[in-house]
């Protein structure tokens, strides 16, 4: 069964550095998402992406964040200048379509630690 994959599984970075988190969604899916979960807190929506553009973003997704689908398979989340509070688990998800009939399939997550 196809799965969403994410790399790296863990990333440690210095405050102020740029990080790129990578995701490979399921191949016939059209909608892509990034979520984050700060340790001990709830899963938070960051952004959704469809047809090569952002379709929805949350307040968390400020100018420091960007997403890109650089080729036909990867979907990346870039944080330009990391802050301590960016430390979290970042989940990528994809779905074939959008709406209540559709399941979002999640990747295993990337644990980001900003020092």
């Amino acid at each position: 069964e196809p799965e969403v994959t994410q790399t790296p599984s863990h990333q440690v970075t210095q405050m102020g550095q740029e990080v790129i988190l990578r995701c490979v969604p399921i191949s016939n899916h059209l909608y892509f998402y990034w979520y984050r979960q700060i340790l001990g807190q709830k899963v938070e929506f960051l952004v959704s992406f469809y047809n090569n553009e952002i379709s929805e973003k949350s307040e968390i997704f400020d100018d420091q964040f960007s997403v890109e689908r650089p080729d036909g398979s990867n979907f990346t989340l870039k944080i330009r200048s990391t802050k301590l509070e960016d430390s979290a688990m970042y989940f990528c998800a994809s779905s074939r379509n959008v709406g209540p009939q559709e399941t979002q399939y999640f990747g295993p997550g990337t644990r980001l630690l900003v020092l």
Binding site: E3, V4, Y35, Q41, K42, V43, E44, F45, S48, S55, E56, F91, A93, V98, G99, P100, Q101, T103, Q104, Y105, F106, G107, P108, G109
Partner: protein
């Protein structure tokens, strides 16, 4: 504001006992409701959705519009049910559909 509440951070029951994980939502429209589960060291995965009226792994969830609740239930808990459970209404906001996540309930099934 759209909000979903899972009042119990941790729920611990004995194997074979009934389980109920509570979820209440506040949303002006008619959300579609989902339960996601995350087993230890595994990814988030869909457990069940209201629209399908299904029972997965013995779990069911009934939407109570009057109480705005979507509690997850299982009559006889098994040890393999130990996991984090997230209630996630799907709502339309600004013409976009997205999931709103509860804080999650950690379910521990004691042998």
């Amino acid at each position: 504001a759209q909000r979903v509440t899972q009042p119990e951070k941790l729920l611990s029951v004995f194997k074979g006992a009934p389980v109920e994980l509570k979820c209440n939502y506040s949303y002006s429209g008619s959300p579609e409701l989902f339960w996601y589960v995350q087993y230890s060291r595994q990814r988030l995965q869909l457990l069940l959705r209201h629209i399908s009226r299904e029972s997965i792994k013995g779990f069911t969830a009934d939407l109570n519009k009057g109480e705005t609740s979507f509690h997850l239930k299982k009559p006889f808990a098994q040890e393999e049910d130990s996991a984090m459970y997230y209630c996630a209404p799907g709502v339309v906001m600004d013409s976009n559909y997205q999931l709103i996540w509860g804080a999650g309930t950690k379910l521990i099934i004691k042998p």
